[in-house]
C-alpha cells in the first residue's frame, strides 16, 4: 500500500513536472514564433525575446522552487501544527484505574508523521509533555513532565505502524486529562522548533 501510494505520488509529480513546462513551451513558442515572423517581415522593431528553451528552463526551475517551498511549508505546518486530533491520528488510551499510566498511541506512525517533523520530536533527547487537566474545583490546570526519549526511553514502536509514548502520572487521574502537548527538547534543554500539540477529546 505504501509502495503503491509512493508510486502514484511520484507519477503525479512527474506528470506535473513534465506537463507544465510543455504547456509553457507550447504557449510561449506560439508567441515567440509570431514575434519572430513579425521581425522578419520588418514591420516592427522590438526588444529581443528570451528563447523558448530558456523559458522552459525557467518554468522548470520555478516548479522545483515552488515544490521545495511547498514541502518546506508542509513540514513546518505539520511540525508546528497546534492541533492534530482525531482517533485515526492519535488517541489517548483509556487507562485502568490505579495504574495511572497514560499511553499516547500513534497509529500510522510511519506514514503520517515522517513528513510532519514528528521524527524530530520523537527522536529528541527529551520530550516535554504538558498535560492539561480539570482539577477538583473544575478549573483547567496543567502539569509538565520531561521524559527521556533517547535509547527508546519512553517511546517505543509497538509494531512497524504504531509508535507509543508511555508516561507515568502520579499527581492526577488520567481520566481528567483534556489535552496533551508534546515538544521535543534538545541536549541543552531548549525546545526543538518542530513541536507538536495534540488535542484529545
Amino acid at each position: 500500500m505504501v509502495i503503491l501510494s509512493t508510486l502514484i505520488t511520484l507519477l503525479i509529480v512527474f506528470a506535473l513536472f513534465s506537463v507544465i513546462p510543455l504547456i509553457v513551451w507550447f504557449i510561449y513558442k506560439r508567441l515567440f514564433d509570431r514575434h519572430a515572423n513579425t521581425m522578419l517581415s520588418g514591420e516592427k522593431k522590438g526588444k529581443n525575446w528570451l528563447p523558448p528553451f530558456v523559458v522552459v528552463l525557467i518554468a522548470f526551475a520555478a516548479e522545483v522552487i515552488i515544490l521545495l517551498g511547498c514541502i518546506a511549508i508542509l513540514r513546518t505546518d505539520f511540525a508546528s501544527k497546534t492541533e492534530v486530533s482525531g482517533p485515526d491520528v492519535v488517541e489517548l488510551e483509556t487507562v485502568e484505574e490505579g495504574e495511572r499510566i497514560i499511553r499516547l498511541v500513534f497509529p500510522g506512525y510511519n506514514e503520517s508523521y515522517c513528513l510532519g517533523g514528528t521524527w524530530g520530536v520523537l527522536y529528541a533527547p527529551e520530550e516535554e509533555i504538558v498535560l492539561e487537566y480539570t482539577d477538583e474545583d473544575g478549573k483547567l490546570s496543567e502539569l509538565t513532565y520531561r521524559i527521556p526519549l533517547e535509547d527508546e526511553g519512553a517511546f517505543y514502536m509497538e509494531s512497524d505502524r504504531i509508535g507509543i509514548i508511555t508516561v507515568e502520572i502520579e499527581e492526577i487521574d488520567p481520566q481528567d486529562v483534556t489535552s496533551v502537548h508534546l515538544r521535543g527538547v534538545d541536549a541543552n534543554g531548549e525546545y526543538i522548533d518542530n513541536a507538536m500539540d495534540i488535542e484529545f477529546d
Binding site: 513551451w25 513558442k29 515567440f32 514564433d33 514575434h35 519572430a36 515572423n37 521581425m39 522578419l40 522593431k45 522590438g46 529581443n48 525575446w49 528563447p51 523558448p52 528553451f53
Partner: protein
Amino acid sequence: MNIKMMLDPDDPMRDALQGMGITDDPASEYCIFRKSRNVGYIQGRKEDQTFYVDVKTLIFIESLGHDIILHTRDGAYRSSERLKSLESILDPGRFLRISNSVIVNLKEIKRIESSVFQRFVLHLTSGDRVDVTRSYYYIFKEKIGI
C-alpha cells in the same frame, strides 16, 4: 596563365585580365576578387555547362560532402567554391550562415519556426526547410532582431 576570377561578368577587371592573356579557370589555385564589393554573380555548373548565377536568385547554398549546391529560383547549380569563401564574398546584409553546411538568403525566408531547444527551422519561399543550428542560433537571432 590561369586564375580563378571571382568577378562579375561585367566587371572591367575581367576584360583587362583577359586582355593580358589570363584566362578564368575555376580549378586554378590562384584567385582574384574585389575586396571592396560583394559579388553579384557566382559561377555554377549545371549539366556540364557553366553559368553565372545571379546571387539575387539564390535561395540558399548547401554543402553536401565535397559539393556545394546553389539552390536558386531557376534550379540547383553545383559550385567548386568552398562555403567559407562564398560566405566571405556574399553580401552579409542579405546572406547569413546558419549552420556549418548552409548559407541562406534572408530575403527568401518565408517563416521562422522555433524548435525544441536551441534551434530554428526556416521555411523558405521555395518550400525547402533548413535548420539554424545551435552554434549559429544567437547569430541568427541577433541578425533578425528577435
